[in-house]
């Protein structure tokens, strides 16, 4: 009888922990693009961690600044050392909720995420539009938005001020899979 109870409670436990419904990606993509007179600046990061709790629609994203890869080594160096100061602030994060999460269907649905974005040690509340697709096997999220470097205390020296656009277009694409561990 005891064994039966043990087995039963094991199953029950598994059922409860499955109810958590976490979806996760460890290789989400974030790209940023900034138009510049000499050469457009782009960088890719394909190691973004993003987690969605499908029971509540909460979303958490962690980004390693040093994972942004530039075409030019010098740009990457300046980005890390002078602008984002990645030794001091190695990560950027986003914590928020997908609004109207239950309305998201198995085909691409427009929705918004609202939350706090932290870059360069500075936090700011933002709302981002995106396309969301929700199935049993995956939650896809993609879209883009504009950030202003001034909002995050990123200083651009006067010498190169004119060469760097202060509005940066950030694109994201995450393919979350069910996470069971």
């Amino acid at each position: 009888m005891k064994i039966l109870i043990t087995i039963f409670s094991c199953f029950l436990f598994v059922a409860i922990s499955n109810g958590q419904e976490r979806y996760l990606t460890k290789n989400g993509a974030i790209t940023f693009y900034s138009k510049a007179p000499v050469e457009d600046i782009t960088a890719d990061n394909n190691q973004v961690l993003s987690i969605i709790d499908a029971s509540s629609g909460k979303m958490a994203i962690s980004i390693l600044i040093k994972s942004f890869m530039f075409k030019k080594a010098l740009m990457q160096e300046h980005f890390n050392e002078n602008y984002l100061e990645s030794d001091k602030f190695p990560k950027a994060t986003f914590k928020g909720s997908i609004l109207n999460f239950d309305a998201i269907k198995e085909t691409a649905t427009k929705a918004q995420v609202k939350g706090v974005l932290t870059i360069h040690g500075v936090s700011k509340e933002i709302t981002i539009d995106g396309d969301f697709t929700k199935t049993k096997e995956a939650i896809l999220v993609d879209g883009n938005f504009i950030i202003e470097v001034d909002d995050f205390g990123i200083e651009i020296p006067a010498v190169v001020d004119k060469n760097i656009n202060k509005k940066i277009k950030v694109s994201f694409n995450f393919n979350h899979k069910p996470y069971n561990k």
Binding site: K26, N27, A29, N46, Q47, L49, S62, L64, K66, S67, M69, K72, A73, L74, Q76, D87, P90, K91, K181
Partner: protein, 140 residues
């Protein structure tokens, strides 16, 4: 008159050299992982344990360095035509994620889960896992 000409020629040469150096610096190549010696060599267990016990000091120790990691493959994936190899650790949640270079991705087909390998790459930090980018296979 001749003197002035000489000075102008000298200045011109300096300007050309300066422009050349500036151009070279602007186009400075990325670190070539395949041809560089690794800064640190260790096991997948060790680097993950270091990061999960003290992330700050591990950041200053490992970030942007060429790290050679030895471990057992637990997963092989391809994402956007680039290979990603997961190295097992004794931690339940964390592992070492090795994002392969294009050249290494081409050599990936010979690998199998459970196989022990040594990978060399640049460490960019720790999320759930330790992340290495631009990885190459080490020849031993």
């Amino acid at each position: 008159m001749m003197k002035l000409k000489k000075i102008i020629i000298r200045i011109l040469i300096l300007v050309i050299i300066g422009a050349f150096v500036a151009y070279k610096m602007y186009n400075k190549p990325h670190v070539n992982v395949a041809n560089s010696k690794s800064d640190i060599s260790l096991t997948a267990d060790k680097i993950l344990n270091d990061f999960s016990s003290d992330e700050n000091s591990s950041n200053s120790k490992y970030l942007e360095k060429i790290i050679e990691v030895k471990g057992v493959i637990s997963e092989i994936n391809i994402e956007k035509e680039k290979g990603i190899i997961t190295l097992k650790t004794n931690d339940d949640f964390g592992s070492v994620l090795c994002h392969l270079s294009e050249a290494a991705t081409k050599k990936m087909s010979a690998l199998q889960e459970g196989q022990s390998i040594t990978v060399k790459g640049i460490c960019t930090g720790f999320l759930m896992d330790v992340i290495l980018v631009k990885c190459e296979f080490s020849n031993h």
